[in-house]
Symmetry: C2
Subunit: 352 residues, 2 copies
Amino acid sequence: MPKPSPSPTPSVEPRFIRACRGEPVDRTPVWILRQAGRYLPQYRAVRENVSFLDLCKTPELAAKVTLDAATALGVDAAIIFSDILIPLEAMGAPIVYGDEGPKLPAPVRTREAAARLHGFDPARETRFLGESIRLVCRALPPDVPLIGFAGAPFTLFAYLVEGGGSKNYETTKRLMLEAPDLAHHLLDRLADAIAPYLSAQASAGARALLLFDTWAGMLSPHDFDAFVVPATERLLAKLDRGGCPVAYFALDSAGLLERIARLRIDVVGLDWRVDLGEARTRLGPKLAVQGNLDPCVLFGPRSSVEARVREILAINAGRPGHVFNLGHGILPHTPVENALALVDAVKKYRSS
Amino acid sequence: MPKPSPSPTPSVEPRFIRACRGEPVDRTPVWILRQAGRYLPQYRAVRENVSFLDLCKTPELAAKVTLDAATALGVDAAIIFSDILIPLEAMGAPIVYGDEGPKLPAPVRTREAAARLHGFDPARETRFLGESIRLVCRALPPDVPLIGFAGAPFTLFAYLVEGGGSKNYETTKRLMLEAPDLAHHLLDRLADAIAPYLSAQASAGARALLLFDTWAGMLSPHDFDAFVVPATERLLAKLDRGGCPVAYFALDSAGLLERIARLRIDVVGLDWRVDLGEARTRLGPKLAVQGNLDPCVLFGPRSSVEARVREILAINAGRPGHVFNLGHGILPHTPVENALALVDAVKKYRSS
């Protein structure tokens, strides 16, 4: 599918979508990674009565926490409440969500285990997500678009092989070295499963799509080229974007920017470890960026939140194609008033 | 002190030292970060009878594990067995080395706690290190120089404030935001303590000095400029190099290379997350580099160890100023034969 051409009626598009396309906006749009998270009392109240996974799978509740967060923060985009690992479960790899992050009781490390994974139909196995999206889109104001998302093939592959998060991803990397064919096979299967899963989110009403490749940055450029690029391109080629801009985010990606820039995407998510201006120069003129405030800045005084927000906006210097965000998910103990201060500072900023 | 001019008799200098100075060499020198570590049976045998800290503080044993590793691997440099946190203990901040990494029972987060830290005389409080270095230098062949090292001010500061390793360094970053004056005060005191500690290693016989700024890469470029650069420059200005080239290594530094290049150093340690050739271009013509094989490659088959080593050497394409190494410390479960295969592959490499 060809890249969508700019909308014929740009004036009615929300500023978040326009910024994703690199078009001029009245002010920089802002939202917060994991904005419907544990730092928010509304979210914690809902979670008192329901597990994380049940919350993801109950459209009324998922819609409620999605909308609560967008309303409380006054942000320019909502993101559907869900989890990057949902497709793994739908493929037959159960996940246990505990206090120490998600774990897979049965990691997939052999061709036999891989053979037991299966594709899935988003209209059936993950129907709850389409319903959540439809509920949210019905309730959102027209200038606040909804973002759909999924884990990218490599990050889901790393969870699948490792069985959870990891410091060094030794098991994953060993499999890539010892059985590269199996690694490519799994990555291709994941790409093939994620493409319709993301396409279904666009069909249900999502206006932008975000691929979280959280762990791709633990790879050398060699492995990124050999494993991440082919699987991600495979997914992107099969994706029915429905006019949505597509964003790609990897943590620790400062050494990979030129490679990420060659993917068929519209927006690159930046973590806080890179200067936004230097990153844009390396990414080239065609890509929009999203980021990139250090989430830990929100633990400081309000004055430094405001100063750091202004600084990033000054670095971008009004260049079109910037969505303000944190450089990674908002942390659980973040004071809500500082999240609000962030949004407020972006909204009030005027370049001088 | 001015940067040392190239040795007047370069032909007798070991290839490791020549490479650190960017001079031509007969072949790329190689050593391995943490080469005297838990993966080595000789090291584990010594550790059966002595704690980690006692090993650091017993010159005969520290010299033995230093020499055992250099001999077993046949590398082009030895590195004195010690720990980056030794200066903290000498300043009055006790450290407990356990299975989950070093912990500081009394983290330093207030001006009162900072006032209780004290400077130290390397000839007295860390005399054991000078003795270890003298013992090693007496035993090493003349073509294998010894590397002295210390934790850099920021990394010691992060341990001091956080009380140990951390996922997000929330406490450290909060202190930097809430009490920047205290942060700068601590960083300056650390720089002032580390400079003579490193200078003493050069006096005792070390031929190169390495600053480990392991955690600097968790900072935004803004914080790197504001906190890491001034303290590191302060240390480097006070350092009596005694003719030693100085190397600086930070993990996750792909977004910081242009900033690191402005430090008064000779060699930049690169982790595996950046392409060596791209990094050299960004660092400019004056700096040598050290790295940058992913330590996890050593978990793969021997053939892939050899292929990946050759690939990095091919990327560098014979340009002077490259010391081959891993991109981070060798991991505890690494097969020794793969560490040997790495060294062997570097030694056998001939650019075609």
